[in-house]
Amino acid sequence: MSHRQTAANTYRLRVECPGIAAAAVAGQFAMLRIADRVDPLLGRPLAVYDTYRSAEDDAPQGEISERRFADFVYVVHGRFTTALKSLAPGERMTLWGPLGNGYREVPTTGHLLLVAGGIGQTALLTLGRDRAAAGEKVTFCWGASRGAAFGDIDDFRRAGLDVHLATLDGSSGKRGTVIDLLDSLFPRSGAAETDAPRHVACCGPDGMMAAVSRWSEGRGLGCHVSLEAPMACGIGICFTCVARVKDAEGGWDYKRTCIEGPVFAATSIDWS
């Protein structure tokens, strides 16, 4: 297990977990728990950020099936992440995964736009790399409150993505929200049709995802979002993580985002 700080309040943890590393697809997550502790009691969901063959590799190499280690990138927030940050060497972790559907349903359109808010970039790196490697153009827009929140931006550049940043305080990239950034990159009128993105995949806080969902709809673009509902089990047995998902009859039902998500078509989510 190795551990380092990558940005303000943000840490990157490498864990040996072959069952997860060799099987995870883009957008999937794992549950992590500090073994045998009752406080924090439960696991927490973290996106599988990237996977590696060894503890030392600094770039992913080889076939996915040979990967034995996974990196998780987290912001220190509450009980679990605070405890994780100061984990004593030799303390055991329990992990289970890979979990959730991932971004399997994101179509190949020729130009994919990835939009991250806050720590949402963690769910998007491998999706962007896979698509860029397959020859698709991938634009990555990342918004945060301030520049100090961005870490390991080069991972995204090395993955072949066209990276653009926005901060509310203007300390890095464009000043404003990620929506302001999207508007400036892809103005509604006069945009060269060929250059415009054809599909959007998004991960971040709910309010930001609702806004990106509206932005995409306004431009006639399909959009997939990865919801960050709090989870207690991650495997479908507790019914904590529900979101209102619209059904065919115009109604809605609570769906468990851990097993039926966390990725949904943005138009199927009832954001109210």
């Binding site: 009691l41 329990t94 207690a232 904590t240």
Partner: protein, 328 residues
Amino acid sequence: MTNAPADSPPDGGSIDLTVHLGRLRLPNPILVASGTFGYAKEMVDFVDLHRLGGIVPKTITPRPRPGNVPWRTIETSAGLLNSIGLDNDGVEAFLRHQLPFLLGCAAPVIVSIAGADQREFVQIADRLEGVPGIAALELNISCPNVSHGVDLGTDPEACRSVVAGVRGVSRLPILAKLTPNVTSIADVARGARDGGADALTVINTCQGMAVDWRRRKPLLGNVVGGLSGPAIKPIALRCVHQVRRAVDTPIIGVGGIMTIDDVMEFLVTGASAVQVGTASFAEPRSSTRLLDALPAALAEAGVTRVADFVGTIRLPGAPQAPSSPQPH
């Protein structure tokens, strides 16, 4: 540690794990608790389902219920507060979509049912009567998340009448699941016994609340909810103890069980079997891990049958340990 087949059990040796709860016989005393194991199919990658002493799927109601608005759970110190609100698709969808898989697990399936009043309990029990393969019914008369006027789990006479009503239409063994949120759990246990319960499941969650003072708001969508996990184990043990002193009806202990020591504490206090709840969230394999550890713990206690250990606690002023409950 993912998706690997669960470890095979160590040699159970000569320890007899069989449990008798009234008319219900179980292969071992480690069950999984309602609402904490989904409908079992979610657990196939984690647990060898056929090894479980019993599976109690999530409570079903006569009609579908959407459940409560998020946030539905909040972690608290060594505990979990929940207000799921009996989110379920109703008895008909359960029979069509969930029961066939459950019956294929080769573990006893104890169907947990709830209704708003005695009539609804009887109605749902009647619907399940004659459905092949169900081992027993557990009456969830104690869910803190559905407020409907009369609380069937807090009034001994109401409790008696629900159990008796269900017995009137069902030939299945009946477990009554009791709430700790009462002044005298012994009185409610007597009501359940008088109504004809085969066993008592002790306990459901303890009412609680969590608040965010900075935003001046309750954290649960439903404001209050039920507390589970290690934080409530002492309350659950106290309830098992009090019910044991009050009635001879066999008890299934539940509340905060995480370790094999917890299991043994419930057995010695008077529970004939236990249910594992929140622990399955913290570690999906908890139930079979505890089952693996049980024979060695019973051997350490010097018994060859689990039933010989049940209720053997030595209480002050009572030099003779009370005898374990006999199967009727």
